[in-house]
């Protein structure tokens, strides 16, 4: 990123268009700098093409075939029939719905808790390091490990949730959290929220520290209450940071896999889109169908990213401080 910006002159350009010096006015020096810039980014671009674009194109190609790893002779061209099979299959839509539910619920909860944590980390005066570290610990734990920890927590055989929360009317020593759809989804989401809220709060903390103290003081002098300061000053000024946090977490949450794999293996209808794709490609060796699914998953992720940037009306370049 810094290399790319260094190669562009600091002259203001029209928003929405890439900064590029006009051909007529480019000096020799600018041209040379541009060439150097291109050379400097070339290895990275080539590497990216090799490791990203090639597999993507390959997946697109494979998605047009009926192709199974263990019956290679069966391979036949199917056109878009893999896509029509997927898009008319109730399992695909159920899994997509599950994924959307997990994404919306976890990101919403994480946003609220994460913001509270960010405020604590921002405002705390004593034991600052210790508090910040302890808030961030869950994020340092590997997702698979956290998934196992939460699976044991909710386990009917050796978990503590059933005994600690027995006083709640719907929980007893025999409550099988992984025995039905909603309890299992709940357990999966708790694990996901616990693990990734610190990431959310870290991003929000960065946004919070960008809000100028002068503005807050001015609002206070003008007689704004705490809530007014929060909603009229702090949050609007954090919009870019919130967008980045929501975007990152939403895309992460949409690709949820580890927690489901460890906790239910997709049983009780808790499968996500990624898990469905994994099962087609890795477990069933259905390279064609699985590739079609992964293409659809990729398009969905693009769509979500587009919708979120539209919804927050924030220019990503601006959010990076390049505007």
């Amino acid at each position: 990123m810094s290399i790319a910006t260094a190669a562009t002159p600091a002259t203001p350009s029209k928003p929405g268009k890439p900064d590029r010096p006009g051909k007529a006015v480019a000096s020799d020096r600018a041209k040379a700098e541009n060439r150097l810039g291109l050379k400097l980014v070339a290895p990275a671009v080539i590497l990216m093409l090799l490791v990203t674009a090639w597999p993507m194109l390959r997946a697109l190609y494979l998605s047009l075939f009926r192709y199974r790893l263990t019956t290679p002779d069966d391979r036949s061209f199917q056109g878009i029939s893999n896509y029509t099979t997927i898009l008319t299959d109730p399992l695909f839509w159920q899994d997509t719905l599950n994924t959307v539910i997990i994404m919306v619920v976890t990101v919403a909860v994480e946003l609220v808790i994460g913001f509270a944590f960010a405020m604590v980390m921002h405002r705390i005066v004593f034991a600052r390091g210790a508090v910040r570290t302890s808030i961030l610990i869950p994020y340092g734990i590997i997702t698979v490990v956290s998934a196992f920890a939460w699976q044991f927590t909710f386990s009917i055989n050796n978990g503590w949730v059933n005994s600690w929360f027995e006083w709640l009317p719907w929980i007893g020593p025999d409550t099988n959290w992984f025995g039905a759809h909603w309890p299992a989804m709940f357990a999966i989401m708790v694990s996901e929220i616990w693990k990734t809220t610190p990431f959310m709060s870290l991003l929000l903390l960065a946004g919070l520290s960008q809000v100028s103290e002068d503005m807050l003081e001015a609002a206070q002098v003008d007689g704004a209450t705490w809530w007014q300061r929060l909603f009229k000053v702090i949050l609007p000024n954090m919009r870019a940071a919130i967008m980045v946090a929501v975007l990152f977490r939403a895309l992460d949450a949409f690709r949820i896999f580890d927690n489901i794999y460890v906790m239910t293996k997709g049983a009780q209808g808790t499968e996500s889109s990624s898990f469905l794709t994994y099962r087609q490609v890795i477990e069933q060796f259905q390279l064609g169908m699985g590739s079609a699914l992964s293409v659809l998953l990729f398009l969905t992720v693009l769509l979500i990213a587009y919708l979120i940037t539209k919804f927050f009306r924030v220019d990503l370049a601006q959010a990076r401080g390049e505007g």
Partner: protein
């Protein structure tokens, strides 16, 4: 561009060099072939067999595969599809034998070895290891499920275990007397093992004509299928169902059986020694009988499990590996493995190992062998994983099994095999 080319050349040289270095390391003590045997995790039986079967010509070393049978299949198949020469010998779970053989991953066993193995092995073991008329893997150990019960509970409930019992009987007895019937009913292969045994016990099959590949005849929607569904539904809705029924596997079922509410358990042979370390007092209370009948009066068909040993077609040492397999699967090795792991031999000769008779009572060894001869392996088809997965999707959780389940699963299996539905 020169610089780019030089960079690429340097990178290529580095990659080649590291490959050569790795190859050198692998052949460090040249002359003697190194055979790598990919084994399913056990308590040291296969490693001991590998050691005893190593000769002056080759050394057999073991590499451990994942715990879960489906994960073992995934790892082996992915390596074999990539023609990985690093696998010489492998331990293969019966349901995936046909898939591997059909894909051409396995080196053919010499006719002589096939005849010898067919001679020595139990019927179920041979059946599970045969694809397209040939024995494609060598039966090594054979597992079978029997009905384990708590003597004290049976006494309280007043059932005569000397005669064959039915599922209905044990479910009723357990629910009336506050006991649990522990089975495997999580959404995994073990649940299909149970379903397959119930259907076979009623005289049916899940699929037949499997040599037709995806056009095999799907027979699960039958009287036998209905009877199997009825047993599962009855247990799932009775007081005899353990509270973790829908997530139970071999391990949790064993734990339920060992707990105060334990009454009946269908599980593999290793249960006899399962509690020796943690609950030694339990052994006096463990009884065993033939797998329960689905339909009264019709001989039960116990689930078959085990391991067949195959040789990779992509191995650089196929001949040595085939020799090694002959040694690995002889009666002596089978006995040694059984003694160390509780995984029972695939042949009657293997059962003659005197050490086995010290660990297991004679009537239990006889029960295992009788059960093995009556056992019905899961259908041998290259598409077993699709069929098994379809059944898991439609029959799980056990509480949802109803009269329409067999019919639903039949049409779902057909759709999945023909690529019309996602699994």
């Amino acid at each position: 561009m020169d610089r780019v080319r030089r960079g690429v050349a340097a990178a290529a040289a580095l990659i080649t060099a590291s490959g050569l270095l790795a190859a050198c390391a692998a052949n460090a003590d040249s002359g003697k072939a190194q055979l790598t045997w990919y084994i399913n995790p056990d308590s040291g039986g296969q490693a001991a067999v590998a050691k005893s079967c190593s000769t002056d010509d080759y050394t057999i070393t073991t590499q451990v595969l994942p715990q879960d049978a489906s994960q073992q299949r995934i790892q082996l198949a992915r390596r074999l599809a990539a023609e990985d020469p690093g696998i010489d010998i492998m331990s293969i779970d019966p349901p995936y034998t046909a898939e591997f053989a059909n894909a051409g991953y396995l080196a053919p066993l010499p006719q002589e070895l096939q005849d010898k193995l067919k001679d020595q092995s139990f019927k179920g073991a041979t059946q599970a290891a045969t694809w397209d008329g040939d024995l494609v893997v060598a039966p090594f150990w054979s597992n079978v499920q029997v009905l384990w019960y708590r003597k004290s509970f049976v006494k309280k409930a007043g059932i005569d275990m000397g005669r064959p019992v039915t599922w209905d009987q044990i479910i009723d007895a357990a629910s009336k007397n506050g006991g649990k019937v522990a089975v495997q009913a999580n959404k995994y292969e073990g649940y299909v093992v149970w379903i397959n045994a119930l259907i076979a016990g009623a005289g049916g099959a899940i699929v037949s004509d499997t040599e037709k590949g995806i056009d095999a005849s799907i027979d699960i929607d039958s009287d036998a299928g209905d009877q199997a569904a009825a047993v599962i539904r009855k247990l799932a809705r009775s007081k005899a169902a353990p509270s973790d029924l829908s997530v139970s596997n071999e391990g949790t079922a064993g734990a339920t059986f060992g707990s105060p509410v334990g009454a009946f358990l269908t599980n593999w042979t290793y249960i006899w020694t399962n509690y020796d370390a943690a609950q030694p007092e339990l052994k006096k209370d463990i009884g065993y009988a033939r797998y329960p009948q689905t339909v009264e009066g019709k001989e039960s068909r116990p689930p078959y499990g085990g391991i067949g040993v195959g040789v990779s077609k992509y191995s650089h040492h196929v001949d040595e590996s085939l020799k090694a397999v002959e040694c690995i699967t002889n009666a002596k090795s089978q006995g040694l493995n059984a003694e160390l792991t509780g995984n029972m031999p695939a042949s009657a000769a293997g059962y003659e190992d005197p050490k086995l008779h010290k660990i297991y009572p004679d009537d239990l060894l006889k029960l295992f062998q009788d059960s093995l001869n009556a056992a019905t392996p899961r259908s041998v088809t290259p598409y077993w994983s699709d069929i098994s997965g379809s059944i898991q999707s439609t029959w799980h959780p056990p509480g949802s099994v109803g009269t329409s389940t067999p019919g639903d699963s039949a049409s779902f299996i057909d759709d999945v095999l023909h690529g019309r539905r996602l699994l």
